[in-house]
């Protein structure tokens, strides 16, 4: 029994059917961690991207080094680091939030590059034209640069959303009961790993296929020449 749901080991089919709702409980946690982690990554990535384009190199270089460091070290170790080290500084977060924070930190390195790449991909003639038309820098950014950068940024961010979802099982090590962790507990208690683990793989496959179709739709349907922000 798990999450108050009993499993039925009378036959393999009955077992698979009976554990499906239990796995769905885990799936909800997985999706929650994905979304929270994604929003943290979006916000932290914005901060990193801003620091990396700061006017002075004394801010730019450390920010670049930090991005490289985050990107080159494993999520698992970053997660353990946050999980054990934050409490020593008096910040005790629930395991779920620590996990989402670790996902957010790891992926902020990637999202910051997406922002930067998207902004730099806007042709320099656009900035020059805005300047020639005497637009204020702030207005140039919000009305000229952003509308053209966003259609490039969104599909790339969507790909990282999918990657975050695939990394959520790592949070199992700090006792977050996401889908794979739930499947393992079912396996531990019944001795039957094959069915729950295969079902988790299947659910992941369905989700990533749906998500990549969504990303492809965005990629082809967002107007490449610019999005009206009105």
């Amino acid at each position: 029994m798990f999450f108050g749901i009993e499993w039925d080991t009378s036959s393999q089919w009955a077992f698979a059917v009976s554990i499906f709702p239990i796995l769905l409980h885990g799936l909800v946690i997985t999706l929650e961690a994905t979304v929270v982690g994604f929003f943290i990554a979006l916000a932290l990535g914005l901060v990193l991207a801003a620091l990396k384009s700061a006017p002075t190199r004394f801010i730019r270089w450390p920010a670049k080094l930090l991005t490289e460091f985050i990107r080159d070290t494993p999520l698992l170790i970053q997660l353990f680091f946050l999980f054990y080290v934050l409490p020593e500084f008096g910040l005790t977060l629930p395991a779920f939030l620590t996990g989402a924070l670790a996902l957010g930190v790891q992926y902020s390195a990637y999202t910051s590059e997406v922002y930067r790449g998207g902004l730099e991909a806007v042709a320099s003639g656009q900035r020059e034209a805005a300047r020639a038309l005497n637009l204020a820098p702030a207005r140039t950014f919000t009305h000229i640069i952003l509308p053209q950068a966003i259609p490039r940024i969104i599909p790339a961010l969507g790909n990282y959303l999918v990657s975050i979802m695939k990394d959520v099982p790592v949070l199992g090590v700090v006792t977050v009961l996401e889908m794979l962790g739930v499947a393992r507990i079912i396996g531990d208690r019944t001795g039957g790993y094959l069915i729950p683990l295969t079902m988790v793989g299947g659910i992941y496959l369905i989700l990533t296929i749906i998500a990549s179709l969504g990303v492809r739709y965005l990629d082809t349907h967002l107007p490449k020449r610019g999005l009206s922000l009105k």
Partner: protein, 223 residues
């Protein structure tokens, strides 16, 4: 306890991490070429198998794959009368290689498709056999295009090796966890390990850059 006393067990773990990275990256590269070219095959069986492999291993989580190979495959083997119990090293290398190979296969496919059509036509006009066209015309032009992404994937693979500690393989992440359990000195241990992984990633990046220069040596300077 002094932090220097952690270095001996950590470097033992580091050696395991290095071995895992090297084996699984090489094996993964092999899978990448095999299935990347397989996806471009005209044989529907080869093509279908390659597409299925790529979709399954890119579409599911590495940890799911690792646990499936380590925990579920032996049960499946029992059911069909085969001994599919693998030691953790073999399961770890297999999962890492299959996973990174699927990502690499898409890179190989993209790079091969990016070789201009005229190159194939010229090779055909010069009476090259299919195999010769692949070895002498397509791959030498496609491989340098793959290298930057392969570099990223190799670093990704190095980071992913940390996950094999979860099937009790004694790599660097595993040793770190052991030391932390023993000394409770988490700040020092994990800071040290983060920097060790970072150092390894820099070495991997440098090696891939050298390889990139080697496979692109036929290109004219400045390209």
């Amino acid at each position: 306890m002094e932090w220097t006393s952690y270095l001996a067990p950590l470097s033992q773990g580091a050696w395991v991490t290095v071995q895992l990275t090297v084996y699984s990256t090489i094996l993964g590269g092999l899978f990448a070429f095999l299935f990347g070219l397989g996806k471009l095959s005209h044989n529907p069986l080869v093509k279908g198998f390659s597409v299925a492999y790529i979709e399954i291993f890119r579409g599911t989580s590495l940890l799911v794959q690792l646990f499936w190979i380590y925990f579920a495959l032996p049960i499946l083997g029992q059911a069909i009368g085969l001994d599919l119990r693998f030691p953790p090293v073999a399961a770890g290398v297999a999962a890492l290689a299959l996973n990174i190979g699927a990502y690499g296969a898409e890179v190989v496919r993209g790079a091969v498709q990016a070789v201009p059509r005229e190159q194939y036509e010229a090779a055909t006009a010069l009476n090259f056999t299919g195999r010769k066209r692949l070895w002498r015309i397509t791959l030498p032009q496609a491989i340098p295009e793959m290298m930057p992404t392969f570099g990223n994937l190799a670093v990704q693979n190095l980071k992913d090796t940390a996950l094999v500690s979860l099937i009790s393989l004694g790599d660097m992440a595993f040793r770190a966890e052991q030391i932390r359990n023993f000394t409770q000195d988490s700040v020092t241990v994990y800071t040290l390990v983060l920097f060790m992984y970072f150092g390894m990633a820099l070495v991997v990046t440098a090696c891939m850059k050298l390889l990139e220069r080697y496979v692109g040596r036929w290109r004219a300077a400045g390209r």
